[in-house]
């Protein structure tokens, strides 16, 4: 039993085993430690914590794959862990209220139930008591004051955190039903999989996200990195993360945005500085120019694909769909609806609705041969 809470706190964000080599090195994760004040909070809130721990231990035993679980109890970035600390504090207080009031209720219904031996006289009628009532008004007021002050402190700490000049800036644009990531200073445009450098106390490299929407409301939520912030058309928002551990963090759109809201998944790759630099370098290249797939490229450039997609170095400059310049550097397609394999690409181009019913890319009515050539071309886009 003693080890149980640790199950919650030390779950490391594992890299995605199905992704390409570049990310394999992340596998040697150092499970991060319970920080000192976490531990204190646990002791402080032993009762409810125990309750939750039991529940979670049970969950861990059944879980089909904890590596993909974006639990808010496994924070890996300052905003998320500040929130978790606050959560434990609030949980302790509300847990305490629950135990006291629930206990009184239980006691009342056990102690004062009507017994067989009772005569049928009515019990003493009590209409109220000013002192008692005053007490249970004042005590909650005090509790509210404490809760409010603690909360306000964290709100200001997270929301109004000073922005270091070295911060990486990424513009996130929500689309029905995929994410567009732009790195304005680096000249990179990509989709659905966000790459950010790891941050540490010695070398703080937070990432600031500027959140926009191209159509309806969405919400950016990678629970282990930060709370969610909405992407609202005509209402730009900002948020920030400073992941402390490399690896893959999953999340998804958390504001209902239409048919495929469920499949608007999100992946955040936290890279070492070297990996990140390499990734940036690669993303800045124009699309691959491989003569052996000219047929596929020709189909791409002569079909409507170019209306919606951009591939740097070609005539394709559409912005309605994801930028495909470095499609092969992504592990998934269509916002996580499928893994990025030639087979899935084929299926996707043949009939996007089959993989993701309601996706806003039309089936292009191409024959199998054309699609095969297209896929061959797309798979060269590293």
């Amino acid at each position: 039993m003693a080890g149980v809470p640790r199950v919650i706190f030390t779950r490391a964000p594992h890299p995605d085993t199905r992704s390409n080599n570049q990310r394999k090195s992340d596998a040697k994760q150092r499970p991060f430690m319970i920080r000192e004040h976490d531990a204190r909070a646990i002791r402080l809130s032993s009762l409810p914590a125990l309750f939750f721990a039991v529940a979670f231990a049970g969950r861990a035993a059944w879980a089909d794959g904890p590596q993909g679980t974006p639990s808010i109890f496994a924070p890996a970035s300052t905003p998320a862990s500040n929130i978790l600390d606050l959560s434990w504090f609030v949980l302790a207080i509300t847990g305490g209220i629950f135990v006291v009031v629930g206990g009184l209720l239980a006691w009342a219904i056990i102690r004062y139930r009507e017994r067989k031996t009772d005569d049928d006289s009515e019990p003493a009628q009590i209409y109220g008591s000013t002192q008692v009532e005053l007490a249970w008004t004042v005590i909650p007021i005090l509790i509210v004051v404490v809760l409010f002050l603690t909360t306000a402190r964290i709100i200001f700490a997270i929301q109004d955190a000073p922005r270091p000049p070295a911060a990486l800036e990424v513009t996130v644009v929500g689309h029905q039903f995929w994410w567009e990531f732009r790195y304005p200073k680096l000249g990179i445009v990509t989709a659905n999989e966000l790459h950010v450098p790891v941050s540490s106390a010695q070398d703080p490299r937070p990432t600031y996200l500027h959140l926009l929407s191209a159509d309806v409301d969405h919400s950016f939520w990678a629970p282990q990195l930060a709370g969610k912030t909405d992407l609202i058309p005509n209402h730009p928002n900002d948020t920030w993360i400073d992941p402390r551990h490399t690896g893959l963090y999953v999340g998804q759109c958390a504001q209902f945005c239409g048919v495929e809201h469920a499949m608007m998944l999100l992946r955040v790759y936290v890279d070492t500085p070297e990996q990140f630099a390499a990734w940036v370098k690669q993303q800045q290249q124009p699309g691959a120019q491989d003569a052996s797939v000219a047929a596929g490229r020709h189909i791409f450039e002569t079909q409507a694909c170019t209306n919606c997609h951009r591939i740097a170095g070609t005539a394709a400059a559409g912005t309605f769909g994801p930028d495909l310049t470095h499609l092969e550097s992504r592990a998934t397609i269509a916002a996580g609806a499928a893994m990025n394999t030639p087979k899935n690409l084929h299926a996707w181009i043949q009939d996007p609705d089959h993989l993701k019913p309601g996706a806003l890319m039309p089936a292009m009515q191409l024959n199998d041969e054309q699609i095969d050539q297209l896929v061959e071309y797309l798979t060269t886009l590293h």
């Binding site: 679980t69 606050l86 219904i109 909360t151 900002d238 958390a254 239409g258 019913p357």
Partner: protein, 564 residues
């Protein structure tokens, strides 16, 4: 007022005796044209129970779809329609009408009046509400959407702009949604005005405001709150309709309109709305708990003040549904504080109920079982509400299953439980027959267990990052087993509800005779026969305390000696 049992003027006949066609038609006609508050109350309740089954069936469809990852039971479109219709139906066609129905039936009886202040307005309100319900369900047939066939609204019950704009929601489903809510909104407004006028102007002699039963007080506060919360929704729906039909730009983000303004308008309605639902439920508990503890309610004046306080504070907390839309830190902090403040008057209510139990002789009949479960569940729900009100934590929990768990804990664990309690408690008055206690206990325990299996578990999937409104999820997220458990709980609740429905029908046909006052209770409605005659009271009653029947039963120790 010398006479005590308040003589009868013939009982209300609610069933056709002979089944000739003419008789049935006449009986039906009688119900359709009725302006009697009791019949209208029954109509409201029956209407709502029907929609409870419908929306419950929709919930079960949702649960079947989510029981396994990558399930294909419902298409994404259908799933989105299901949860939108489930939420909309439960709030507007189940919760509000059933509570207004119970209020309609009981308020005049409890204050010793012969009918509502405006009987015809009352009928009008009911039929408006009913028409709204039909309108929204008609969209399944008539609201052809993107796919050229029937399509119900699929934008969520909060219907955030600009998803509701013509560009993103073509077809008519969203129009049906907006129009239905405008129409039923007028019905609700009429009902609220009527209840206010009735409580203020129709009380019998001696029924001063501070002698009204708490249920009446809470209906009064609810109605007052309704006046100023339903109307902003109506206003917002009118704007939406202007956008959709006349090409307006209120919420058109392409033309400078604001999506956030819709959110504010919706939640200025939506938040007080949840208190509109819960306050009558509080009223029900405040009637039942004293009777089955055999004690007067503890701290009556404080209960009244707390209710008014809750209604008042609830007007200033709406943006706690919007902590993630990017308000300023000061704005966020303000709404944190105002939201937490609601806990204080609500706490007073919980403490007073517990104090009413304290020192009583508690009788665990079915209505009381539901009420005790209510206190317990509402305590937890309120505390999870406090967790959500902690803005930074809400940045994590918002739109996750934790929120779904929180509000079902209140909407089901508090409101539906109390509605069941109310039906078990007043069914004898309405029909003259007792509901079966055995079936009632089955119903209670199955529902209680099903409820906890479902909604306790939801909190945890929320912690594990599962967002709401998703029609499916991948197996590697680690949510699969918990979702299966949740779905099983839903099925158990379904069985319980079916037992309940069966109990209603069976007991009506062969239940035990109830008599006037089966629970040995204290408010005026128990002084008249069951079912009550058309004009309720043969002679206008006079009361001298909050518990007129207590005074009657205990002339040696009447209440008015003690009430200040």
């Amino acid at each position: 007022m010398a006479d005590q049992t308040l003589p009868i003027a013939g009982t209300l006949d609610v069933t056709p005796r002979r089944h000739s066609r003419a008789m049935v038609l006449e009986w039906l006609h009688g119900w359709v044209v009725t302006v009697d508050h009791k019949r209208l109350g029954i109509l409201y309740v029956v209407y709502s129970i029907f929609f409870l089954l419908v929306a419950g069936a929709e919930a079960l469809a949702i649960r079947i779809q989510l029981a396994w990852p990558n399930n294909h039971f419902l298409s994404p479109e259908l799933y989105n329609e299901m949860f939108t219709m489930h939420g909309t139906t439960m709030v507007f066609l189940v919760g509000m009408p059933i509570l207004f129905g119970i209020g309609n039936y009981l308020v005049p009886l409890m204050i010793g009046a012969r009918d509502m202040a405006f009987p015809r307005l009352n009928a009008f309100s009911f039929w408006m509400t009913a028409f709204g319900g039909l309108l929204i369900y008609y969209s399944f047939i008539g609201g052809f959407g993107l796919y050229g066939m029937g399509a119900a609204p699929d934008v969520g019950w909060w219907a955030y702009a600009p998803l509701t704009a013509k560009a993103f929601s073509p077809g008519h489903a969203t129009d049906y949604w907006a129009l239905a809510l405008i129409v039923s909104g007028f019905g609700t407004l009429g009902a609220a005005i009527n209840i206010i006028a009735t409580t203020l102007s129709m009380r019998c002699r001696g029924m001063s405001l501070l002698r009204m039963p708490l249920f009446v007080w809470l209906m009064l506060v609810t109605s007052g709150l309704t006046l100023i919360t339903i109307t902003p929704l109506t206003a917002a729906q009118i704007m939406l309709t202007i956008d959709r039909y006349l090409g307006g730009h209120f919420f058109d983000t392409q033309a400078g309109g604001s999506a956030v303004v819709w959110m504010h308008f919706f939640w200025i309605f939506g938040h007080p709305e949840v208190y509109v639902l819960v306050l009558p439920a509080f009223g029900i508990a405040s009637e039942i708990i004293p009777v089955f503890s055999r004690k007067a309610i503890f701290g009556y004046p404080a209960m009244v003040a707390a209710s008014v306080g809750i209604a008042f504070v609830s007007l200033g907390v709406w943006a706690h549904h919007m902590f993630t839309v990017g308000m300023t830190s000061v704005g966020n902090a303000f709404f944190v504080l105002s939201t937490m403040l609601v806990g204080i008057p609500t706490g007073i209510k919980i403490f007073n109920w517990v104090a009413t139990l304290w020192g009583g002789k508690i009788r665990f009949r079915v209505p009381m079982l539901f009420c005790i479960a209510f206190i317990f569940q509402f305590l937890i729900a309120g505390l999870t509400g406090i967790m959500l009100s902690v803005a930074p934590w809400d940045w994590q929990l918002h739109n996750s299953y934790f929120v779904i768990a929180h509000f079902h804990y209140v909407l089901v664990g508090a409101i539906i439980f109390n509605i069941f309690a109310a039906i078990y408690y007043w069914y004898p008055k309405v029909t003259g027959k007792m509901l079966s206690e055995t079936l009632g206990r089955w119903h209670f325990w199955l529902f209680f267990i099903g409820f906890h299996v479902t909604f306790d578990t939801m909190h945890f999937v929320g912690f594990l990052g599962m967002p709401r409104s998703i029609y499916t999820y991948a197996p590697d997220r680690g949510w699969s087993h918990l979702n299966l458990v949740i779905s099983i709980g839903g099925m158990i609740q379904g069985i319980a509800v079916l037992i309940f429905a069966w109990n209603l029908v069976r007991s009506y046909l062969r239940g035990k005779e109830a008599g006037n006052d089966p629970w040995d209770a204290w408010t005026l409605e128990w002084a008249v026969p069951s079912p009550p005659p058309v004009y309720n009271f043969a002679a206008d009653p006079t009361v001298y305390s909050r518990r007129p029947l207590w005074d009657l039963k205990h002339p040696e120790d009447p209440d008015w000696k003690y009430e200040g």
